[in-house]
Subunit: 363 residues, 3 copies
Amino acid sequence: MAYSIQDIATALGLTAEGNGALTVSGVAEPATCGPDQIALAMRPAYAEDLPHGQARAAMLWQGADWRALGLEAAILPPRPRFAMSGLSAMMDPGQGYAPGIHPSAVVDPSAILGTEVSIGPFCVIGPGARIGAGSVLGPQCHIGWKASLGDGALLHAGVRIGARVRIGARFIAQPGAVVGADGFSFVTPEVSGVERARESLGAEGTDAAQSWARIHSLGAVRIGDDVELGANACIDRGTVRDTLVGDGCKFDNLAQVGHNVVIGRDCLICAQVGIAGSTRIGNNVVLGGQTGVSDNLVIGDNVITGGATKVLANVPAGRVMLGYPAMKMDTHIESYKGLRRLPRLFRDVAALQKAVSKLVGND
Amino acid sequence: MAYSIQDIATALGLTAEGNGALTVSGVAEPATCGPDQIALAMRPAYAEDLPHGQARAAMLWQGADWRALGLEAAILPPRPRFAMSGLSAMMDPGQGYAPGIHPSAVVDPSAILGTEVSIGPFCVIGPGARIGAGSVLGPQCHIGWKASLGDGALLHAGVRIGARVRIGARFIAQPGAVVGADGFSFVTPEVSGVERARESLGAEGTDAAQSWARIHSLGAVRIGDDVELGANACIDRGTVRDTLVGDGCKFDNLAQVGHNVVIGRDCLICAQVGIAGSTRIGNNVVLGGQTGVSDNLVIGDNVITGGATKVLANVPAGRVMLGYPAMKMDTHIESYKGLRRLPRLFRDVAALQKAVSKLVGND
Amino acid sequence: MAYSIQDIATALGLTAEGNGALTVSGVAEPATCGPDQIALAMRPAYAEDLPHGQARAAMLWQGADWRALGLEAAILPPRPRFAMSGLSAMMDPGQGYAPGIHPSAVVDPSAILGTEVSIGPFCVIGPGARIGAGSVLGPQCHIGWKASLGDGALLHAGVRIGARVRIGARFIAQPGAVVGADGFSFVTPEVSGVERARESLGAEGTDAAQSWARIHSLGAVRIGDDVELGANACIDRGTVRDTLVGDGCKFDNLAQVGHNVVIGRDCLICAQVGIAGSTRIGNNVVLGGQTGVSDNLVIGDNVITGGATKVLANVPAGRVMLGYPAMKMDTHIESYKGLRRLPRLFRDVAALQKAVSKLVGND
């Protein structure tokens, strides 16, 4: 994977500055950059480290004086972070999974495999499963009965796709991700304490001891194109209909999506986020790490939550939220400033009470 | 799996209305229901969609006028959600795991398998392990040395049961669930900053740099009957005695139970809940998603926590809790209303101070 | 694994009291202790249960009158919890993994295995991988292309180590742990709502619908010696350089470490903690269960966070933090006392307003 600076610039739709024939075979930070790597110094502060390394070429910012930085070649993208996407794709050495179907894999005769599929050791492909052309499955994956994966999927080690799950093209899943576990749905024979507490906003618990009966998840999960799923993340199947995830959604490690949830397109769901059952999430929503969203809520398009926001009520489109319970971010910041100053406020009010009581006495 | 409406009603202990001989082979929501499915419309609002589908039979609410809804048959359960439990069990097509012991599975000769056990490809059953009659293990599971599973277990792909863990009858575990990992227990040679901070409620940290020595987990995990464990959920082994989980407890995905924890019977532990070491949880407790419970606490029977509640102190039986730190739910709602109005309160107090200072000056 | 009390005392660098020749083959709590076990009763309160069991020997506290407790032998460590570390290591029966390389394991011919390595059934060792001498891999593990494990590693079932990850000596990983999943790094073609919300602290969301482009993770993960990783915990690879974890760090179950994170030495990262991308954590830091740390922060040495602390800003060395957003623990306790009393404060201020308005009217 060696590329000339000209190759890279062309691939990114940009212009090569200087010696476009210079070839590089990797990327590096400025201080540790070797002569055969391209340095990433996308802000002036980072470029200060270039003299400590051996970079001859760099990706910089627009307008950077690359000659003054001692470089032979440069690429000056208008949005360097976006250029990094294309550059990193070119330079990714990948995981080195072998091509073809490993002889140890157990592929049901009724499974349908597309062309140029790679299936790693100890994978299990269930009856009636479909795997799209060009897909790569790392070792120890399981694709359940009648589940389907679109073209160009990349599953890392130990990914589990349950029965009847349908996934679009270019799906990427990190190790241990699980799609299609049963939803968490239980019911007591009589009205339970939880149901009563919800009705009354907490005033009443329960005395009766009851056991939980299982509601089976008869739905599956349907996932659009270009979706990614982090390590050990989980998306549960629906109760009657399918749990739905739209095109372009990305889920980080240990994220959890409950049964019947509907997620729009191009959402970013960060690590350890939990979305409880039957909640609907709009398009282009970003949920910060450890965000929690209660069940049966509606989150509008373009909503953004800060880290660890706990959403207990519907959120209108476009809102930026923070805190537990979630508030508009600016309200939150104002309120918590107040919280820190509360002890002083109590003292002030006590002083006022004293002063007023004296005044009243004086009257 | 086709059943007549009469079959279903009988199985649920209910009465079939109309043409009990009508057969259905699945369930559906009203709008998408086919002529061979039973529609679920357990509230009048849902029934409005029946004309958009082709349902001939439905599960409705008690007293529903099924004829007026254009149906040929109906079941009118007194508690429809509970009836859904039995109906969904009848209609569940399952995961399609093949019967018998897959030739690729590695079963130690000293393991004891009950009758009619199914063991999937690439499972590993350790020495001295016991698997109860009628149990089904999906692919790629591991049952450790001397671990035991009761009758009728259902383990989905990649479940790991550690050495000496003992589990009762009818255990269900979703993919990637782990029972019997080591507890997280470490100690420094000298008193550590954590120990000092706990003593002093945070006033004092530590300066000394110490390394952590491991305390091995010599106990195992003992789990009762009818317990379920979600995808990638974890229950750790105890230090000296076993971690204990009572009959009928249900754990959702990514839940975490620390070493030495004792959980009573019929608890519902929602997704991403964490219960720290040595805490005791009563019976019929419900912990909402992302709840955290600190170590060495006692949570009484019938306690309910709202989503993301962080429990830092003991909770008496029957309480409904919310927030971080956890408060009684009604106190929490009152306090957080105040928090949102804090900026105004600061302004009010400032105005009062001004007025009083003027009055004092006037005196 | 039977040891005399003298053997145990010697191994722990302590003195045996009484009959040092007495042998024990396990540890137990006082009430359930058999005659061939050593009871753990490290506080006087625990010793009260000794008469209910059959203990002949016990580990007690310094100065304990073991004869009066009816024992034949005892060990009286100055720091019993630390002595428990050595004792539990001696008594640990382990997981019973078989020695040698299981014939079902797929080991690439270019992988380099140290002496006396054990590799369980259905493990996959990728090309160019290195496994240090004396390492034990449980069943169904995956070691990626060119990844390396130091001497004396212990990997339980289903651990996944990605390509090019380098790990030091004596690494322990619980089932389902993942090292080297891709970082969660995405970028939109134009400036996104998240970027704008960060700039403005939440005042402005976004209207534009954009899709996310992937930034590939070209770095790996580098982990020092004596590190432990909990069940289903995740450490992501870096974008350009490696994610770094120092010697002696311990991670509990379901912990999450983002791309480019740098963690010092001897940190304790409890269950379900999340550390977002590019954050730097000092030495001897302890993060309580469910702590969250935002991206690009700096957490100083010896910082301690209480359970579920959400760190949204840098924390200087030595601080003890609690809450969301994180505050110094003593400030937090003071502020939240105030929060609970807020409803009363509102009433007090309303009363003051009335009194003052009357006084002003009286004037």
